[in-house]
């Protein structure tokens, strides 16, 4: 069991200096998600305009894997359409299941492939991405004229 396969430098770098941490001002889609088995928690905010993610930020508490994954995810989805963001989520899910996946344009994310060797930690890595999926469903619901309740 090689710890360095999990804790790659790029992951520790995101953990130490997370990108996009802190909340947005103004109107944004906001999603809170926690991992009930361990207590990790994330709040994701996305400012969506013309079907694109203009801004994404997060707050949360969690381990190096969950927080670095959130840092990378928020960076990776910026400027993407909701469909492209969902496609990234799908790619990430494939990587977590150890399946063949298209390489990420945002290279840092490949570092998280080491998580597949530590099955107990996959849930940590996917927390932010699950929040993203939930946020996209919520934003579509709001666009369709539904209520703001999630």
């Amino acid at each position: 069991m090689q710890l360095d396969e999990l804790y790659r430098q790029v992951i520790m770098d995101h953990y130490k200096t997370p990108r996009n941490r802190g909340m947005l001002d103004g109107e944004a889609v906001s999603v809170q998600l926690n991992n009930p088995t361990c207590g990790d928690r994330i709040e994701l905010q996305m400012f969506i305009e013309d079907g694109k993610v203009k801004q994404a930020r997060f707050e949360g508490e969690g381990c190096s894997i969950s927080m670095s994954s959130a840092s990378m995810m928020t960076d990776a989805i910026k400027g993407k359409t909701l469909e492209e963001a969902l496609k990234l989520a799908e790619q990430f899910s494939q990587m977590m299941q150890g399946q063949e996946h298209e390489e990420f344009e945002y290279e840092d994310m490949e570092a998280l492939s080491g998580v597949t060797k530590f099955p107990a930690r996959i849930k940590c890595a996917t927390l932010a991405w699950n929040a993203l999926r939930k946020g996209i469903v919520q934003s579509k619901h709001e666009l369709d004229g539904g209520s703001n309740e999630s």
């Binding site: 130490k16 207590g39 928690r41 940590c124």
Partner: protein
């Protein structure tokens, strides 16, 4: 007590994990099982497997004798007045839910109080939240002292003549605190309240005498005390159990069935609907024999020594915070390393073959009280040695260095 000899009776401990000999420090979550228990379950399935209280054939009689024999063992182990006051359940959670759903809901009404503490495991918290919501009773908490312990003056201020139920853990699964349950039971009884003790973390580790404690209900799980998973028991005072209605209907608990009404069997069977958990109850009986032979007092003594040794050596690690009081505690140490999330601690320890728990330990309100989102916990049992602690301390030092270097 010779832990090294005892260890040999646990086949699972004789293995390597990630290239290191396994150091199992997660017994508060579930304990390992000795060969005697594994073989008792195997013997039942190989030789005696049959339903209980039904067939008149030989296997049916053997299964019934073994199942009811296990109940007798539980009664003796807890010093309950009679085996009929021992109800087999799936574990502590089911036992507490039975009392909260049946007893508490029938006696509590608006204006009454149910008293618990902020250190409760979710399984001794949510059933009372639900019972309070269903009856209109008020859920009250005895506040915690700075070190997490309960002061009797606070218990006195919280428990009133309106209190119908007090439910609390005997030993905290996070803080290792052994609560002053004798005094609180006396106090509750003075106000006419009944007391349920959550014995999930006490029964495996110390001699428990429900008659001497004078508690009204006592719940525990087998799997934390060398028995299989899925078996536990509820002890209750006879008059209370007799007054309670079952919450599961069908199968083994039935006496007479008419088209529009039915009657229940007598205690304890009226609470054991369906085919009971036969093999695992027999396994629990074998676990009790195993623990009794070693002696609960010796087990408690051994764990206290290991925990004291662990506290002393872990406290030397700079940047390591230990939660809960320093003295008079059970055999577990809950901690955090500065700047390293407990998951990350647990992963590095696992890479060294050391199994600890990381997370909220099913005590989210207590985590909030501690002002942390999660903690790591090393919990000890009769098979742990000081050498296990030495390995833990060395691995924690390594964890600190690893992350100190990685995070910079």
């Amino acid at each position: 007590m010779n832990a090294a000899e005892i260890r040999k009776q646990f086949p699972i401990l004789d293995q390597e994990v990630n290239g290191h000999p396994l150091v199992y420090l997660d017994s508060a979550a579930t304990s390992q099982k000795p060969l005697a228990v594994i073989e008792a379950v195997e013997r039942y399935y190989k030789m005696d497997n049959s339903n209980v209280h039904r067939g008149v054939h030989t296997l049916g009689s053997r299964a019934t004798d073994a199942y009811e024999g296990a109940r007798e063992k539980v009664a003796r182990f807890l010093n309950a007045p009679s085996a009929s006051q021992i109800i087999f359940t799936r574990g502590t959670t089911t036992a507490i839910n039975l009392v909260a759903s049946s007893y508490a809901r029938s006696v509590c009404k608006e204006g009454d109080e149910i008293v618990i503490t902020p250190m409760e495991h979710h399984s001794n918290l949510i059933p009372w939240q639900q019972a309070a919501k269903a009856t209109g009773a008020t859920l009250k908490y005895i506040p915690l002292q700075e070190d997490g312990s309960i002061a009797l003056k606070d218990a006195e201020a919280t428990i009133t003549p309106n209190t119908k139920m007090v439910a609390m853990t005997y030993v905290s699964n996070v803080l290792g605190i052994i609560n002053p349950v004798r005094e609180i039971i006396k106090l509750a009884h003075r106000h006419g309240a009944k007391v349920l003790l959550d014995g999930a973390q006490s029964t495996p580790h110390m001699a428990v005498d429900v008659s001497e404690l004078d508690c009204d209900f006592y719940a525990f799980s087998g799997h934390k005390m060398c028995a299989p998973t899925g078996i536990g028991a509820l002890y209750g005072k006879r008059e209370l159990l007799e007054q309670m209605e079952p919450i599961e209907f069908g199968g083994e608990m039935i006496d007479f069935v008419e088209l529009y009404d039915s009657t229940w069997k007598e205690l304890p069977w009226k609470f054991e609907g369906g085919t009971p958990i036969i093999a695992d109850a027999i396994g629990l009986g074998a676990a009790i024999d195993f623990l009794t032979e070693i002696g609960m007092d010796r087990i408690e003594q051994h764990e206290k020594q290991i925990a004291a040794y662990a506290m002393e050596n872990m406290a030397k690690i700079e940047g390591l915070t230990i939660y809960g009081p320093r003295r008079d505690r059970a055999g577990l140490v809950t901690f955090n390393l500065d700047d390293v999330h407990p998951h990350d601690v647990a992963t590095v320890l696992d890479s060294e073959g050391i199994a600890v728990r990381a997370g909220h330990h099913c005590c989210q309100p207590l985590m909030r009280w501690l002002n942390v989102s999660a903690t790591a916990r090393a919990s000890f049992y009769l098979y742990n040695t000081e050498e296990d602690v030495d390995k833990l301390v060395a691995a924690l030092t390594k964890t600190k260095e690893y992350f100190g270097h990685a995070i910079g």
